[in-house]
Symmetry: C2
Subunit: 222 residues, 2 copies
């Protein structure tokens, strides 16, 4: 079941992401996410149900079937690989790539995406730190914690960010922090909950609690 329209794929992806955030997803949730109306969602739920990508009983809710999840992971894989391409090869900022990747993710060629993956060096995480599913849909999850929860003296690498705003990107660019940057907690100030951190040997400075809350770190390899 791979003959899905772009619109059908967008519904599947939306349901997948909503399911990740909260395992019970409503018609209204999907309508809100896709800027459409509940009635349109119901129409599509019926279509996706006949196409076997959904478990759906009217008035009683719905969720992706195994096949639906497989499809969703394929789309997510393409989306994140293209985002990686746009940031790494075409010098886009991470806040600029989402809309473009939304289009590129619907390009159908299977071999294209495998070659792109190789060309990019088989990255495991996209520019926001989100995991890129492999061609079998397997996701590499990292045991990551919020930077504010890291003990003093420990070092870990930035593995994800809590927002994709231009404002955050600007701040991180200025402080030379990116996915993969190693950070050591040097001191915690209880007055304003700011943190003194060290990134590279000579880079030591203070960051606000707001910024620390937006950073997630891991000790695993990226």
């Amino acid at each position: 079941m791979d003959n899905l329209s772009t619109t059908e794929e967008n519904y599947i992806k939306a349901i997948y992401h909503l399911q990740q955030a909260d395992s019970t997803v409503s018609t209204n949730d999907v309508a809100a996410k896709l800027n459409t109306k509940a009635a349109s969602v119901t129409d599509m739920l019926k279509r996706l149900n006949t196409k076997q990508v959904l478990n759906y009983e009217k008035y009683r809710g719905f969720s992706l079937s195994d096949e639906g999840e497989r499809v969703a992971l394929g789309i997510v894989r393409k989306h994140r690989l293209w985002e990686f391409f746009l940031v790494e090869k075409l010098q886009f900022g991470w806040d600029e790539v989402h809309a473009i990747a939304e289009e590129l993710e619907h390009i159908t060629s299977k071999v294209l995406i495998e070659r792109l993956d190789n060309f990019l060096g088989n990255p495991k995480f996209d520019p926001h730190g989100d995991p890129i599913p492999d061609s079998n849909g397997k996701i590499q999850t990292l045991p990551q914690i919020n930077l504010v929860d890291m003990p003093i003296g420990e070092t870990a690498k930035v593995s994800a960010v809590g927002s994709q705003s231009t404002e955050l990107l600007e701040l991180l660019t200025h402080k030379k922090i990116a996915i993969g940057t190693p950070i050591t907690i040097k001191k915690k100030f209880s007055f304003d909950n700011s943190l003194e951190i060290e990134t590279y040997s000579d880079q030591r400075f203070t960051i606000s609690r707001e910024l620390a809350l937006a950073l997630f770190v891991t000790k695993q390899q990226l």
Copy 2:
């Protein structure tokens, strides 16, 4: 007028290419090119006419307006830049890239295509030797001749190929001839019209008339 659907863009592109081959284009020509029916073409001609990309009077023919031509050149530019990307960066053979580029050419981002152009080194010709329009729609045309018409002793660079078949690609790959390869005519054999040519200092061999007819060369820089 840039809010065009993929389908509308495909019609514009088809009309553009048909116009290049023969300045008078018929409803049936377009239908044949797009694997559709004449009645469907008429429907679309009316739509494109109201969108100002066509000059159309019913029963009396049609052609692209200046705006339509501008749109067509934008699509051709995207198509050929993506083909270049697929061949140069992702190691596709030139006979494999057309279908994928047909999808990629409809990605809308303007800045994407400008960055891709820079990333690829602002190529002027695609992997088949077809010119890539610049962002203003300007095409760099080459004074090129068929290889069989090049005089003995002269050298010129391969600038285009007459077919995009897998068979031709296979032969050229084997003989290490590509777009840009310099060729010198060493001898012409009238018995079978074969040509002895030299590509690089130590590469001298004979090619058939069939192959020579499929190669176009230029003395200009590529």
